[in-house]
């Protein structure tokens, strides 16, 4: 089923990603996103304080920062210690980013429908829909002009999970096309950092996105398109729930201004003094004059498929039988090039009738043909020929072959990575008789094996407040089918211990447990290594992985060969630094089960909680959690396959997260005292002639809007958040855009990163609605006004 079913419509093109990099900072802990404040303890030693920030912070943010000024606790974080990366500009590569994303249709660079298929191996290019553009669009902003979709990292310092907010997907136009109105936002899946490590850079990372649209959310303009007509007809005939759109993004490149857009050229990867001075000057111009603001988006290639969606399928992640990588296989660009060993990515497989369809959108690694090309072009590595078959506790029965010509770039571009293989009746039966495996034909290396159980959260990447109760629905499948009722899932909460760069996950615990967080090589922090301690082992001697680069510059994860004696840096010690993040639980399970584990060397007891949930008749389990502390909890689900409780690891690498079953959440702080303080303060000044100025200067700006002013310089073009006049003049719009209703799904939600705690929202709304909208009445407020 899913997009692997027929009919299909294929799209191909380019994506842009425009994040605000002063916020999404890969290297420096500029923003304490747990407390939702600028990270003053980090900034103050640099001479930047709350008192002088209005004149010091932005100049510092855009000025080259030399290595000598980077604190040790920042440099020591694995990936951050490469001295060649400094000086760096703290704002990084896209100061004015607005979180927009979407497909590119600029001059010769187009994102279009490229073809379709009504049945296996019957590719159609002659159709009225083919060559028309497609786009993800946002919600309207007082105009019929389209607004972009937006992407938001659930955690500003963790690249593993990004939510994609959009209002609609539009294929074609009003005369021939299809508009699909959003039901489910997207969350990236199978984000595979391993290829960055293997091949050297984020260019090689691939991820998968998916959303599904109920029938009633579709607006058809069939025109002369047989592809659209067939899709609509088959949706009805097969009683599908609606349509599914799945796409992959890969081959990400930076600094492509002037090629993919008409923004001024900039090279933010060059950290020579001259290049840094140029970038600083350009940023300064943009800060001084909003007409000089420029974007510097990243760009990826993309390929996707629109197909049928059935009600028992995960709406936001590939369902069906899933193969995950096992052993590395040799790959090479061509017969004469070097061979590199690499693991494959995730493969989805579905059998419908006599056809086996594989989704290889995220399966085989690729490389840029020419890294210096203005418009990068990808080619698939030749990873050899494979046999797909079944394994029953050992014996392998090959069923079908998969060769390079089926997964090379041309094939990928044609069908967005989908491959259809005709099967005989016996082959069909054989494929149903055991666990799927993909083996290298030459030597039988098991490249991928079936992940029999899968569990995907429907409502992913939620933002909740401390005190909120939140329920997640988890769709569980076994062998590609809804799990039997009563299937048990164990759930544990994990967190990240650094306030900068993507890092490993650790179990949330409630006591003062301690463990080596990373291994420090004094004098050579570039070799520092992260750890993944586990219960019952010698945690300080865990095999450590050395990460090269962080954020955009992440390029390798290798076994550390430094012969020097590293110094373990303990979690409890790092927690005292301005970049430490507590691993205390942010969530409380409804039915917690208290657990205890012991780490060794040093011995440390870990008190943590897990819970058990069970699937219903539809294979769906519900988990209810209560938010108890601000932070970035990531829930991990473990299927209990036997009578034994599954092993709950103390930690796991972010590089492995792409095949785990994870649900990231963000818990925003609750500050109930703020509401009382606001009322008290207003009541002390409301009779004064300058009450409006006082409540702004002493409350609204410093306590609520200030961090957003610093983190989103793009707002200065539309609503400068440090200007009472400008905010007052846009109060009607602000009231709509900060509303709780809009936080969940609107692409225009303020703040765009959705990190506005309810207490701050309540104060902001009361100020806007009861003071600004009434022109600051000389009357006292009461706490009951928050409820009116």
């Amino acid at each position: 089923m899913s997009v692997l079913n027929f009919p299909r419509i294929y799209v191909n093109g380019h994506m842009f990603w425009n994040p605000p990099t002063a916020n999404n900072n890969d290297v420096l802990p500029l923003y304490d996103a747990v407390k939702m404040q600028m990270n003053w303890p980090f900034l103050e030693p640099l001479g930047i304080t709350e008192a002088n920030a209005s004149t010091t912070l932005m100049p510092w943010t855009i000025a080259p920062l030399p290595l000598a000024q980077v604190p040790d606790y920042v440099l020591q974080v694995p990936g951050n210690g490469n001295s060649a990366a400094y000086p760096m500009i703290p704002a990084e590569w896209d100061l004015f980013g607005d979180n927009a994303c979407g497909t590119v249709n600029y001059q010769q660079i187009q994102s279009t429908v490229v073809g379709g298929e009504l049945q296996a191996n019957s590719y159609i290019t002659q159709d009225a829909l083919v060559s028309k553009s497609y786009q993800l669009l946002g919600n309207p902003f007082g105009s019929t002009n389209p607004t972009p979709a937006r992407f938001v990292d659930v955690s500003p310092w963790q690249n593993t999970f990004t939510a994609l907010y959009f209002d609609k997907l539009v294929l074609g136009d009003s005369s021939c096309g299809l508009t699909l109105n959003r039901q489910h936002r997207m969350l990236d899946r199978f984000l595979n950092f391993n290829w960055a490590f293997t091949f050297g850079g984020l260019n090689y990372v691939t991820t998968t996105w998916q959303s599904s649209f109920p029938k009633e959310n579709l607006q058809w303009a069939l025109g002369d398109s047989n592809l659209l007509a067939q899709l609509q007809q088959q949706m009805e005939q097969q009683n599908a729930a609606g349509l599914m759109f799945r796409f992959s993004t890969y081959l990400t490149f930076y600094d492509r201004n002037g090629i993919f857009n008409n923004y001024p050229h900039v090279d933010t990867r060059d950290n020579t003094p001259q290049a840094l001075a140029t970038l600083q000057a350009m940023y300064q111009k943009g800060l001084d004059n909003t007409t000089q603001i420029f974007f510097n988006p990243a760009y990826s290639r993309t390929a996707g498929t629109l197909g049928l969606w059935f009600s028992d399928e995960y709406p936001t992640a590939p369902a069906g039988r899933r193969l995950v990588p096992m052993n590395a296989v040799p790959v090479q660009k061509n017969a004469t090039s070097d061979t590199i060993k690499a693991t494959l990515g995730v493969i989805s497989a579905e059998q419908h009738g006599s056809v086996l369809s594989l989704d290889l959108g995220n399966a085989f690694p690729f490389y840029p043909v020419d890294k210096t090309a203005p418009v990068p072009v990808a080619a698939k590595f030749d990873a050899g020929t494979y046999q797909l078959g079944t394994s029953n506790n050992g014996p392998f029965t090959p069923v079908a072959n998969l060769s390079y010509d089926q997964y090379n770039q041309a094939a990928f571009d044609l069908r967005s990575g989908l491959v259809d293989i005709e099967l005989t009746i016996s082959q069909q039966q054989q494929l149903q008789s055991g666990t799927l495996e993909l083996r290298l034909a030459t030597d039988g290396t098991v490249a991928a094996t079936q992940q029999m159980w899968t569990a995907e959260v429907i409502e992913s990447a939620g933002f909740i407040d401390v005190g909120d109760t939140y329920t997640l629905n988890i769709m569980v499948q076994y062998d590609g089918l809804p799990a039997p009722a009563g299937t048990v899932l164990w759930v544990a909460e994990y967190g990240n211990a650094f306030m900068l760069t993507t890092s490993n996950y650790f179990l949330a615990f409630s006591n003062n447990a301690n463990f080596p967080l990373y291994l420090n090589y004094p004098g050579n922090p570039g070799n520092n290594s992260s750890t993944t301690p586990e219960f019952g082992t010698q945690s300080g001697q865990q095999s450590s992985l050395q990460q090269q680069g962080s954020g955009r510059t992440l390029s390798a994860l290798t076994t550390n060969t430094d012969q020097a004696n590293p110094v373990p840096v303990m979690y409890q010690d790092y927690l005292k630094t301005p970049a430490g993040v507590s691993l205390a639980p942010c969530l409380q399970f409804t039915n917690p089960i208290a657990m205890q584990g012991v780490l060794s060397e040093p011995t440390s007891t870990v008190n943590y909680s897990v819970t058990q949930i069970q699937t219903d008749a539809n294979g769906i389990a519900q988990l209810t959690v209560k938010a108890i502390a601000p932070g970035f909890p990531t829930l991990r689900f473990f299927v209990q396959e036997t009578q034994q409780q599954p092993v709950i690891p103390f930690s796991f690498s972010f590089a492995d997260a792409y095949t785990d079953f994870l649900a990231p959440l963000r818990v925003l702080p609750q500050e109930p005292q703020m509401e009382q303080d606001f009322v008290t303060y207003w009541n002390s000044i409301y009779q004064q002639q300058n009450a409006s100025q006082l409540i702004w200067e002493n409350f609204i700006y410093p306590q609520i809007l200030q961090p957003f002013y610093y983190l989103y310089p793009i707002m200065s073009k539309y609503m400068p958040l440090n200007s009472l006049q400008r905010v007052e003049g846009a109060i009607d719009q602000l009231i709509v855009l900060v509303s709780k209703d809009y936080q969940e799904e609107s692409t225009l939600a303020m703040p765009i990163t959705r990190d506005l705690p309810q207490s701050r929202r309540a104060v902001l709304e009361l100020w806007a609605q009861k003071l600004v909208k009434l022109n600051y009445p000389p009357m006292p407020l009461s706490l009951s006004d928050f409820n009116s």
């Binding site: 002639q689 009607d732 719009q733």
Partner: protein, 384 residues
């Protein structure tokens, strides 16, 4: 005075008499009160709203006196003289709070004419909360700075506000019924390209047909004094029950103002001139009698709901939301509630913001007193 001025204008271009259309012979005498007969004016208006809009525009732009120092509309009462700080009672219509001494001092230094009006261009934000940026051919020091705005009202508008004591929020909060302005109520909203003291830029704008004035505004406690060029003007009156909505702007605005796109692009009007306005524009713009107004164009006229044009916007005053801008619909939401404040016409729809382009149902205004389309009342302050 009006007749004298009309003769003065005609005398400027005697050779054009043959080419003058009927519009040029419009009698500006007492035009704020529709001459001798509102019904006759209405009849004439219904014949060609666009012609009447141009007639009013020419009357407003006559010299206000024999010296030609100011134009008629410049002597209307600006809102900063009506809605005073602390909600104080405004001075009578013809009297003015004094121009700030700091402004006059700077003006003196700059050699400005103290007999001319100093316009307080006190606003920069449009009703969608955004500003319109200057760009294109403006000098570097003005790039990115906002186009400025000033609202003015006629005597009967002011007198009604005064009589109803709604010049402050205390008075608006005390309302027990909707407001109902007299049919001789007029308001103007003007937009301005800030010149400052750059004589070259002023010459450029004047050569492109912009009318320039002496102006000032307060920024961070400091008065900025200089010249400004009129880029747009809404002219409204209550000749019809839902008011008459007309809008003019300079045809060269796209040279000096830009969209908020990144990078910015020239700002154009996407709602007009309407087909009905086009020939009328040509008639007036090519009539030498109206040479000082030749670079201004009428965008269109609205006076009834659900009639063409449904959309009407000035590129200088409704820049970014032109595609959802309807003067009559937007102003029909002018309303005040003691508990909710001023009506929010930024409608939370489709997961975003939508502006009304037709009348909202009465149910939307439960608990509000309607302000008879006059949104300038939002500028009122509380008397503390």
């Amino acid at each position: 005075m009006w007749r004298i001025v009309a003769i003065f204008l005609l005398a400027l271009a005697p050779a054009a008499c043959q080419a003058q259309s009927q519009q040029s012979r419009f009698d500006c005498n007492n035009f704020f009160n529709y001459g001798t007969s509102a019904s006759a004016t209405l009849q004439q208006f219904n014949t060609s709203p666009e012609t009447m809009a141009w007639n009013w525009f020419t009357c407003l732009n006559q010299p206000a006196d024999a010296y030609g120092l100011n134009r008629v509309w410049e002597l209307l009462k600006p809102t900063d003289q009506v809605y005073l700080p602390n909600g104080a009672v405004p001075l009578p219509y013809d009297q003015r709070e004094p121009t700030p001494a700091a402004v006059l001092a700077q003006a003196n230094t700059l050699g400005m004419d103290p007999r001319k009006v100093f316009h307080n261009l006190d606003s920069i934000q449009q009703v969608d909360g955004l500003v319109l940026e200057m760009g294109g051919a403006v000098p570097p020091e003005q790039q990115g700075r906002p186009v400025r705005f000033q609202l003015l009202m006629g005597s009967d508008t002011f007198n009604y506000i005064n009589a109803q004591k709604v010049y402050n929020v205390n008075g608006q909060a005390a309302l027990t019924s909707d407001l109902n302005f007299p049919n001789t109520a007029w308001e103007l909203k003007t937009s301005w390209i800030w010149i400052g003291t750059n004589q070259t830029f002023m010459n450029l704008l004047q050569s492109d047909g912009y009318y320039t004035v002496q102006a000032y505004y307060l920024q961070n406690g400091v008065y900025q004094v200089g010249y400004a060029a009129l880029s747009g003007m809404h002219v409204i009156n209550k000749l019809t029950p839902d008011w008459v909505w007309t809008s003019f702007e300079n045809i060269n605005n796209s040279k000096y103002t830009v969209t908020n796109a990144i990078p910015p692009t020239p700002m154009h009007n996407t709602t007009g001139p309407t087909p009905a306005a086009v020939p009328v524009n040509t008639a007036f713009q090519t009539n030498p009698v109206y040479l000082p107004l030749a670079k201004y164009e009428l965008i269109g006229v609205q006076h009834q709901f659900n009639q063409q044009p449904v959309l009407l916007a000035n590129s200088q005053l409704e820049s970014a939301f032109q595609s959802q801008s309807s003067c009559i619909a937007c102003h029909s939401t002018a309303a005040y509630s003691k508990t909710k404040g001023y009506f929010n016409f930024a409608l939370a729809q489709q997961g975003g913001i939508v502006y009304p382009t037709t009348a909202l149902p009465d149910s939307a205004f439960v608990g509000y007193n309607k302000l008879d389309f006059v949104w300038s009342l939002k500028r009122a302050q509380w008397q503390r």
